[in-house]
Amino acid sequence: MPYGSKPDHRDNTALKSQWVIVYADEVSSFNLATSQNWSSDASTRWGLHLNPNVANLGQSAVAFGIPTRALFIAKFIDGNANDLWHGYPADPYRNQQDLPPTNVLKRWHSESHLRLALIRKLVKGQLCAL
């Protein structure tokens, strides 16, 4: 399944969250999401950047407030259902559609990737950081 990075999440576009990890790590995050089946449906997968523990992978869009926030969840989409994927650093504090589904959150906790306090803050729309 081909994966391609979208340039506006790497070119400091003010309205877009930005990757802070290199492209190879972005692809690794997508491959991990695929192999672990961290998905909500056929066209949406959810990624983490393991280094070896969960590490930040992006920062929030500058247009929505300074200082920006560190982001640690990636959202991958096959927008046209043609198996051409792209992704971006998800910002669930800013956008509810960027919150992974409960089955993924539950697995991230049971597999010790995210602590429960962090998950509580995510589902309540509260500020949180790794």
Partner: protein
């Protein structure tokens, strides 16, 4: 005064206490329903601490009883009572696994969405809200038999129950309400369009926070009579939306606002301004600046969340909780909590703060507020003396306290009264 603490080991996510029962959401996918009265009764304690223990964990309302107040404010009685609260707060009371099991009424498979955002009890019904909507269920006495019913698919970041209604903070979808008592109805309506992740009832009005410097007060009035059910109370419809910024002229950068019951709190660097809400007054006179609580922080507050309790304000920061008590103490509860909640609208548990940690849950009991003048206090909401249970029959309500009579030689109330004999 440090809070008293009952500590229950285990891996939990959330808790509720209602009508003599403690509900614990485990991370293993269960909801454990515990006979709280039995558990408190079963904890080993010296005879002279029995009544203090009751007030701390089972019957917070007793000490607010106006008939008791005259006795409570007697300096000697007060001194003895404070001494006993202090003695009990010296170390946490650990509940063994065996005791927890022996007090467990039922254990249900958690069929609500998990991890959820918020939960609440009202009129004998448990409500749980999260990313996939809001569900409700009635606990039964049989294991595994608590089947939730979906109320709405609307995402819930926070919920609040009060004034016979359920309020839902649905993030960017806005703020919604529906009738929750005496019958749960499907009359879901938006009451404010603004982003909200947190709601609280203020009598029959609502406060919705956007988790930062903006918040909206929603005032209601009775709507049209329900022609299909003329016997039912009239639905409440929005009379007015009042953004917090219109409450006054703020000369400083506001960090965070929250509200609930009879207090609105506006936090700026170094202090929290407290605005008291008078629901029975004319609209223009309903809010009155009550005073300023100084906070030791030099910089901005960096709130994760905050809530109003009877015993004070509870603030969550990245590194832990801070309780600004009504007796003007600042108590730090270090360490990031998994979850926490207070029960300002309950009848028996207004003094409790539940803090879920990674390996246990702490039921903390704050007892200074009994000695504070309710009309003059700044931190914390006034105790709700009208708190009532719903009409659904419940088995686990606390029994009235029975004190040993003077005829019982082993009792702690043998006359004449000495320091150890005062029933607190």
């Amino acid at each position: 005064m440090r809070p008293l603490e009952i500590r229950i080991p285990g891996s939990f996510y959330d808790s509720q206490i209602y009508s003599g029962e403690l509900y614990l959401w485990t991370t293993a996918g269960a909801i454990v329903r515990v006979d709280w009265n039995k558990l408190v009764d079963s904890v080993e304690k010296k005879d002279q601490y029995r009544a203090t223990f009751e007030f701390a964990f089972r019957r917070s309302e007793y000490l607010y009883d106006p008939n008791v107040a005259i006795l409570l404010h007697d300096p000697e009685v007060r001194s003895v009572l404070e001494q006993r609260f202090r003695a009990l707060s010296e170390s946490p009371i650990e509940v063994s696994t065996g005791l927890l099991e022996s007090c467990t009424i039922a254990q249900y498979d958690n069929r609500f969405g998990f991890p959820h955002a918020d939960s609440g009890f009202y009129n004998g019904t448990i409500f749980v809200g999260g990313r996939d909507g809001v569900e409700y269920a009635w606990p039964t006495d049989e294991d595994h038999a608590m089947q939730p019913t979906k109320l709405t698919d609307l995402p819930a970041l926070g919920i609040a129950l009060g004034s016979s209604r359920l309020a839902i903070a649905a993030g960017s979808e806005g703020v919604f309400q529906l009738t929750a008592a005496p019958h749960i109805e499907s009359n879901l309506k938006m009451v404010a369009p603004s982003f909200s992740n947190w709601v609280r009832w203020m009598e029959s009005a609502l406060f919705a926070s956007n988790r930062s410097s903006a918040g909206t007060f929603v005032d209601f009035k009775p709507g049209k009579k329900n022609e299909d059910h003329p016997d039912r109370p009239r639905e409440k419809v929005v009379r007015q939306l009042l953004p917090v910024k219109e409450l006054g002229e703020f000369h400083e950068q506001v960090d965070y606002v929250w509200g609930g019951d009879d207090r609105l709190c506006i936090a700026a660097t170094g202090h929290i301004d407290v605005v008291k809400f008078f629901p029975r007054r004319k609209l223009a006179d309903r809010f009155k600046f009550q005073g300023r609580v100084e906070v030791s922080t030099k910089g901005a507050h960096h709130f994760i969340a905050a809530d109003n309790a009877v015993f004070g304000f509870v603030l969550e920061h990245a590194t832990g909780l801070v309780v600004l008590t009504s007796s003007s103490e600042t108590i730090h509860l270090e360490g990031e909590p998994v979850n926490w909640r207070v029960f300002p609208r309950s009848k028996y548990y207004t003094n409790q703060l539940h803090v879920v940690r990674e390996e246990y849950i702490s039921v903390l009991s704050f007892n200074d507020d009994f000695f504070v003048n309710q009309d003059e206090k700044l931190s914390g909401v006034n105790v709700n003396r009208n708190a009532q249970f719903g009409k659904r029959p419940r088995s686990g309500r606390p029994e009235p306290l029975v004190y040993p009579t003077p005829e019982e030689p082993s009792g702690s109330l043998a006359l004449p009264i000495s320091d150890d004999d005062i029933p607190f």
